[in-house]
């Protein structure tokens, strides 16, 4: 159910995300004080290539990582297998990618 290729995709995406998660938590700790507002978020991210690359990479990696992780859970706990499991895996990946990239575009496009 997890072959070598999916395993490597899972570990590679995890490795990519480790520093991004640390950065994301640092931003949250920095930004949360005094509350958040749409203007404040956009002021930080809008038109910034750096934030676009940061969160674009994050969304890409998390879509792969979460899709494979959910694949394992659905297989082990709900016994889904075969083509249905593959369709679900890549469906989750595509859905997260679409939603995630639309969020990244919304907050970073100038």
């Amino acid at each position: 159910m997890l072959d070598l290729r999916l395993y490597m995709a899972q570990r590679l995406s995890a490795l990519v995300m480790a520093p991004l998660v640390l950065g994301h938590i640092a931003v949250m700790i920095y930004a949360i004080q005094g509350g958040l507002s749409t203007t404040e978020i956009l002021g930080r991210t809008q038109g910034s290539l750096l934030w676009f690359l940061f969160y674009g990479t994050f969304v890409l990696a998390v879509s792969v990582h979460a899709a494979i992780g959910l694949r394992v859970i659905v297989h082990e706990w709900l016994r889904l297998r075969g083509i249905a499991l593959d369709v679900l895996t890549w469906g989750i990946c595509a859905a997260l990618l679409t939603l995630g990239l639309s969020a990244v575009f919304a907050v970073t496009l100038p």
Binding site: R11, I29, Q33, G35, T38, A66, G69, A103, V107
Partner: protein, 113 residues
């Protein structure tokens, strides 16, 4: 509460890793959808951010930051277990991952309130 049979520290670390991963994966679509409103419906995002000032929501946010941090530190432990020379201190490392996650999420919580 009675402990389930066959439970032991590394098994609990596995359960924590799975539950945190599952919770984060289920949270992500809502997170993405809300942020995507920043341009099209900023009022809706602002409405939610005002709602997030509620102390109960702050506690939930603390929980999310903890889940994210513990999933990352726990995952780093697993990758070290797989790719670095073997260490017999896995229980200590797993406890360290929980401790580090509590520290980060606690810092977040103290800044948030």
């Amino acid at each position: 509460m009675k402990q389930p049979p066959r439970s032991h520290p590394l098994w609990l670390a596995f359960v924590l890793h799975r539950v945190s991963g599952l919770a984060l994966a289920l949270f992500l679509p809502a997170h993405f959808w809300l942020l995507a409103q920043a341009i099209t419906a900023p009022a809706r995002l602002d409405g939610f951010l005002a709602f997030a000032e509620n102390p109960l929501v702050k506690i939930a946010e603390f929980g999310l930051v903890f889940l994210l941090a513990v999933h990352m530190f726990g995952g780093l432990r697993l990758m070290a277990l797989e790719f670095l020379p073997w260490s017999d201190r896995q229980k200590t490392l797993a406890a360290g991952a929980v401790g580090a996650a509590l520290f980060l999420s606690g810092t977040f919580f103290l800044r948030a309130i």
